[in-house]
């Protein structure tokens, strides 16, 4: 896990989330890709990936509930 020294700032977290979303989508720009792969730790990406996956599952579940109720 990242120690106190290289703890991410808020603006860094937004970049991580955006990169994970780009990975979900399947398209990423070369400059962002280079920036991400030069970072110290991969744990923030794995953590964000797991959280966003849960968000994705929840939204699919809600979408089905919505479709069954209104279509």
């Amino acid at each position: 896990m990242p120690d106190q020294q290289n703890k991410l700032k808020k603006s860094d977290w937004i970049k991580v989330v955006l990169s994970v979303l780009a990975a979900f989508f399947g398209v990423q720009s070369r400059s962002n890709y280079k920036r991400d792969f030069s970072s110290n730790s991969y744990w923030p990406y794995i953590f964000a990936g797991l959280v966003l996956m849960l968000v994705f599952i929840a939204s699919v579940y809600l979408l089905v509930r919505f479709a069954l109720a209104y279509l």
């Binding site: 989508f25 399947g26 398209v27 720009s29 070369r30 479709a67 069954l68 279509l71």
Partner: protein, 369 residues
Amino acid sequence: MKRVIFGLAVLLVTASPSHADWTMNLTRGVTDISREIYDLHMVIFWICVVIGVLVFGVMLWSVVYHRKSRGAKAKNFHESLLVEITWTIVPFIILIGMAVPATATLIKMYDNTEADIDIQVTGYQWKWRYQYLAENVDFFSSLSTPREQINNTQEKTTDYLLEVDNPLVIPVGKKVRFLLTANDVIHSWWVPEFAVKKDAIPGFINEAWVIVDKPGVYRGQCAELCGKEHGFMPIVVEVKTVAEYESWLAEVKQADAKQQQAAMKSWNLADLMAMGEEVYNKACLACHQAEGEGIPGAFPALKNSPVALGEVSVHIDVVLNGKPGTAMQAYKEQLSAVELAAVITYERNAWGNKTGDIVTPAQIAELKE
């Protein structure tokens, strides 16, 4: 070029709905669901046409107007984020746009609740069985096209291979639920005009339902390859008004009662032979052949067979309960006591099998209990 355009225009005109004989397209059908499916099919078809015209239009235009002989130079760029995002988002939007109405229809199709009539449909090699669950009505529906037409010795009629002895009868405007299963292998119950095509699988029960809004006769076929006579087990559904349906039900019940009485009366050899031949042609001929000669290696001969000439009880057992591990089915449920007695008597006395044995319907009725 002009001729091609003219040809396409002619095609479009002849394909318009005013030409009722044009049958290349999906069947529009006689239920709300089938028409919804048809509309969906058309919407998606036109979306595909638009995409096709756009994509191929741009491609052809580029090929013609940016060809090398005109001095066109290729742009050697690599990785365009904008293009990549566009070609991901656009199909996504198109797919979602098609999925929304499709899902709405699917949800309706799977709503099996609140049926007025439940009918169990069971696939057999090679016939269908219909059981009206609340009515104690239960019958088999098998092909009625004469063998002579199949063997090309007689002129084929319009309903060739699409006609049965006992059609399924349902009332108009009522929600009829079908519970589909099979007795031997996987079959599929398909009536295009109902937009119902559901697998009938041994050990499973699949559901489908219809509300037909127009009386008439609708025909379908088994849609899952199920063996030698797969193409010879059609489906015929007669949709009647509610009053006609009720009187049909009463008639069938009366006929059933009559048949049970017939089993009790005494039969002579000639009557049993005449009826036996009829039953044989309907139920046995496909495998054991017209002269009882069978098909060597696949279906045993009945002529001079040890079963047909041997102990009566063994013969009865084979016909009633089938022979596990072979194609010989159990006919106990499929035929009435009279039919079973007649066909066994026939097999023991036809084609030179002269045992002189008479199997009585009463004898079989006892075994059927």
